[in-house]
């Protein structure tokens, strides 16, 4: 398409997000001098989310987590205004108030939102919250300051565990309800999830596995009073945090004939969004949580990575490719997924993707010392490594994953268990 081979001078980034800001910084760093519009449905400039489930709740420092933004970015902000529609024919983003923002290149970086509690009446009760945005975090921090008698988290992911950790640090009683038999298994596999379950229990978390909420009880003023569980149990609480995952913000793309589904916006390895016809949609790119892309580290299997590092890297790659004169000058997005979590005084870091892993082994340190490095294998290859307070070994394992080293990698040496015991991972991790 001729429009895509000429240099852009109107770029619209939809999503005042980490990925969006990363793209904006890269565009300017690469010399783009045209109009740069950043659209965000929240009133805030791009801000950092990881602190929202940790230090902001604990009030270690302030709640202001706006990301550093070089002054010379020269961005035109459209904040507090959601994008409503994409007009591919006219190449324009249409905002909720009707404003049309024409573009030569458009980056879709609208990310995800917290998946709401499925029963709308219960979700609307006072005391039932989700945690995704800055405003969510400030509200929850305020609740924690009032010292609720008990906080309950529903969901077995990292948000649940991080918030539970903060509650324990603040000496607030906390229950975590997890539908599965093991928490965190989807992200880090059953053995590591089981380890974290023990850590959480050791810190005083009332962790209930195989538990789900049958219904909620409210007081006459519409305030949450108690939860009744499927097993008949009852927990009195006026503070429930629903942390049951995220949903991708793609509804505004309905009608644009793009390849969207519940996994996000499908794109190719150059971060070019694909149309419903499977071909690159002219001038449209995607980055961050919303992008569904072929992962070269996993045989081009499609993946959506909801992590900080990917948002930064993919925003950067998309930006470079938006400026490329043609596909030959584009760079492939080949970020190796990574993420971290802090909870119960431990730092967990993961490199690679555990999805589909069939084996797991602790290869340095030990779970008993709460300081170890573990690796994940898939069909004989090392695909991921997790460290718990052992971050300085991780770069060597990252290199091994990138090389597709046999599982387990890096045999011998320091701090190794006498015998490496490989555990077979069941479906929970897949």
């Amino acid at each position: 398409m001729s429009a895509d081979s000429s240099a852009p001078d109107r770029i619209v980034i939809v999503g005042a997000s980490l990925a969006g800001l990363s793209a904006a910084k890269t565009l300017r760093a690469e010399g783009y001098s045209g109009v740069l519009v950043l659209v965000g449905d929240e009133a805030h400039r791009p801000y950092d989310r990881p602190p929202l489930s940790k230090q902001v709740l604990r009030r270690d420092f302030g709640a202001e987590t706006t990301l550093p933004q070089p002054a010379d970015l020269d961005i035109v902000f459209r904040l507090g205004m959601a994008a409503a529609r994409l007009d591919r024919t006219e190449r324009a983003v249409i905002l909720a108030d009707g404003e049309r923002l024409p573009y030569d290149r458009c980056l879709v970086a609208t990310g995800t939102r917290a998946r709401p509690w499925p029963n709308p009446a219960e979700a609307a009760l006072d005391g039932v919250a989700t945690l995704r945005t800055r405003d969510d975090s400030e509200r929850l921090a305020q609740r924690l300051r009032d010292r609720p008698a008990r906080v309950v988290l529903v969901g077995g992911g990292f948000i649940s565990f991080e918030v539970a950790s903060v509650c324990r640090e603040l000496d607030i009683p906390v229950s975590v309800l997890v539908r599965d038999a093991v928490p965190l298994a989807g992200a880090v596999g059953a053995p590591l999830g089981g380890f974290m379950a023990e850590v959480a229990r050791g810190a005083g978390v009332d962790l209930r596995l195989g538990a789900s909420i049958a219904r909620m009880e409210a007081d006459p003023r519409g305030r949450l009073a108690a939860l009744v569980l499927e097993d008949g149990g009852r927990i009195e609480t006026d503070c429930l945090v629903v942390a049951i995952g995220a949903a991708r913000n793609i509804a505004w793309l309905d009608g644009a004939a793009l390849a969207t589904d519940r996994n996000g916006l499908r794109c190719d390895r150059f971060c070019r969004a694909l149309g419903a016809d499977g071909l690159p949609a002219g001038g449209i790119f995607a980055a961050g949580d919303v992008a569904h892309w072929p992962n070269p580290h996993d045989g081009d299997a499609l993946v959506a990575v909801e992590h900080w590092g990917n948002a930064v890297a993919q925003g950067r790659t998309a930006a470079r490719n938006m400026l490329a004169p043609g596909p030959d000058a584009m760079v492939a997005h080949d970020h190796l997924a990574d993420f971290w979590s802090q909870q119960f005084g431990l730092t967990i870091k993961l490199v690679g993707l555990t999805a589909g892993a069939d084996s797991f082994a602790v290869v340095r340190g030990s779970m008993a010392e709460r300081r170890f490095l573990a690796v994940f294998g898939k069909a004989g290859r090392t695909v991921a490594a997790a460290s718990v307070d052992s971050a300085r070994w991780l770069p060597a394992y990252r290199a091994a994953i990138l090389q597709g080293a046999p599982f387990p990698p890096l045999i011998g040496g320091l701090d190794a268990p006498r015998r490496i015991e490989t555990q077979v991972l069941e479906d929970a991790a897949r």
Binding site: P68, W340, D389
Partner: protein
């Protein structure tokens, strides 16, 4: 100021804690917790912290003013 640390890169060398202890704290062995919005007056300390990071994980700049201090290297440089 506005500060962000790429905690994927961080290996808890704690150099920032020595440089700016009111703004960077280690919890446990490796959990770095930091002030995302330090006062502009603490710019010298934040700059020392950003420069001392062995893995260049710290990005900082002045709040909304026209000038930015520390580099935006962590992201920009890594991909080169």
């Amino acid at each position: 100021m506005r500060v962000v640390v790429d905690l994927n890169r961080c290996q808890a060398y704690a150099q920032c804690v020595y440089a700016a202890p009111r703004h960077f704290v280690l919890h446990g062995r490796e959990a770095l917790v930091y002030d995302t919005a330090p006062d502009d007056a603490d710019r010298a300390e934040i700059e020392r912290a950003a420069q001392a990071c062995p893995v260049r994980a710290i990005t900082a700049c002045l709040s909304e003013s026209a000038e930015n201090t520390a580099e935006h290297t962590a992201e920009n440089g890594a991909a080169r």
